[in-house]
Amino acid sequence: AAASVGILDVDLCGPSIPRMLRVCRPEVHQCEAGWVPVYTDQQQNLALMSIGFLLEDPDEAVVWRGPKKTALIGQFVRDVAWGELDILLVDTPPGTSDEHLAVVENLRKHKIDGAVLVTTPQAVSTGDVRREITFCKKTGVQILGLIENMSGFVCPHCSECSNIFSKGGGEELAKLTGSEFLGSVPLDPLLTHSLEEGSNFLQAFPESATFSAINNIAQKLLLHMKDG
């Protein structure tokens, strides 16, 4: 049976997930149990909550200071009627600030399985993720693992591999900090194109190396959930 998953998008300044799942302009309705999340599919296996759904004008800037962001994230956790979920994924903006603290503080009582950290291979990126690892350690969030994204590009014309953003930095960082390395995901125009259109990449390109990479990571995480 398919798992039921919820995504909570707490990137309040740059909510991208609605577009990536092709659910741009629905409204959020209220029921007795709270705010109804937006379902991305008929079977209601994938639910989403994002500030993107609450804006009159999609181009409107959310120019909020920390306290207001913290308050809305608190509402997202308290008031959204997710129903029965196997997994709740929380997507955060970059940083170690109000949003991240709000998520940890609000979810703590509901038990957080852990955090997945995403980096690109180059040192400038892993340099920031090192600090994110410290954030997790300081706030008591278990690190489920690191993912090295944008890891190499295979030219669709000649198959030459170019390490546009370098390579291996994520794996090195995992080793350095004693975290599990979950895997690398390559740069793939087919993936970025799918995200632009909100189409399901995994359904469309199940033979691709990118699919394999993402799927392997997902399987590792599911194992963690079972054991954890």
Partner: protein, 323 residues
């Protein structure tokens, strides 16, 4: 029934965000109306403290009177190459030895600038005239919270108010001296750091903002918000840079649009919004490599397509006063 949609707002010179129904922080009703219930700033407004302007704003105006041009680099999305651009802009401007340049990194949580400029691990010294920035060249200074952290693992887990305090100090207490250009590199978004930079520089005046994006709509979506932010706070937009604009395979020379401009890229967006497109920079592995090594990409690979694109963009950005 539908949850009432939220419509936002503007911020006043004190950096307090107003929402619809907000009576305004300087109003007699500030903090006292029914609309104020639940607003995180309610007690501040009710106490009257929100009305008084922060004295630091005037102090900063005085301190930065010796800075001719101030340019803020913004993006909506993370990872689009803002810090890379800021660093290259700084290097390019400073390539003329008679031009005094400084780069201020206000990305408090993810301070990449020290590494990109090759001065990671350097320390900031304090003197009678304030904090001394770190000099990359005689005419190129850098300031970042990165220099104040003891270890590369140190995390700055600060909420908004503390970040704002740090930014105030960077602007008020650093001894920049005479500068032709002060470039301010920001984290992605439209939040505390951005409001504080605009607020604290409100008397000193910012020439304008350069906004960085990548070609795809997922990125442009956030850039449009960034542009709205600039409009809200009366920050002129010098122009938009489209980064990661195609990749030419070094072997077969075919170009791939790894981040596809499905809605026309920055070019169409700029046309629609009447903003200048400063240029398009292609992906080049040597850019990231030089950033990692703390070297100037423009000096190391001056003949590359990316370097030429950057040079063109820098020329226009530097003319910000006319822009």
């Amino acid at each position: 029934y539908v949850i009432s949609k939220c419509s936002w707002s503007w911020f006043d010179l004190n950096g307090i965000v107003h929402v619809s129904d907000c009576p305004g922080t300087s109003s007699e009703q500030a903090g006292k109306t029914s609309a104020c219930q639940g607003c995180p700033n309610q007690s501040l407004c009710a106490s009257g403290a929100a009305k008084a302007p922060d004295p630091a704003i005037e102090e900063i105006k005085v301190k930065l009177a010796t800075v001719k041009h101030k340019i803020v680099v913004l993006s909506g999305k993370g990872g689009v190459g803002k810090s890379t651009f800021s660093a290259n802009l700084a290097h390019a401007l400073a390539s003329d030895a008679s031009t005094e340049v400084a780069l201020l990194d206000v990305d408090i949580c993810g301070p990449s600038v020290p590494k990109i400029m090759g001065v990671e691990g350097e320390q900031v010294h304090q003197s009678g005239s304030g904090w001394s920035p770190v000099y990359v060249e005689d005419n190129l200074a850098v300031m970042s919270i990165g220099f104040l952290l003891g270890s590369p693992d140190d995390a700055v887990i600060w909420r908004g108010p503390k970040k704002n305090g740090m930014i105030k100090q960077f602007l008020r207490d650093v001894d920049w001296g005479e500068l032709d250009y002060l470039i301010v590199d920001t984290p992605p978004g439209t939040s505390d750091e951005h409001l504080s930079v605009v607020q604290y520089l409100s008397a000193a005046r910012i020439d304008g903002a350069v906004i960085i994006t990548t070609p795809q709509e997922v990125s442009l979506q956030d850039v449009r918000k960034e542009i709205r932010f600039c409009q809200k706070v009366n920050l002129p937009v010098i122009g938009v840079v489209e980064n990661m604009s195609g990749f030419e395979c070094p072997k077969c020379k075919n170009t791939s649009q790894i981040f596809p401009p499905t809605t026309g890229g920055a070019e169409r967006m700029c046309e629609e919004l009447g903003l200048p497109l400063l240029g398009k920079v292609p992906l080049d592995p040597r850019i990231g490599k030089n950033c990692d090594e703390g070297k100037s990409f423009l000096s190391e690979v001056p003949d590359s397509a990316a370097a030429l694109a950057y040079q063109g963009i820098v020329k226009i950005s530097a003319q910000c006063e006319k822009g």
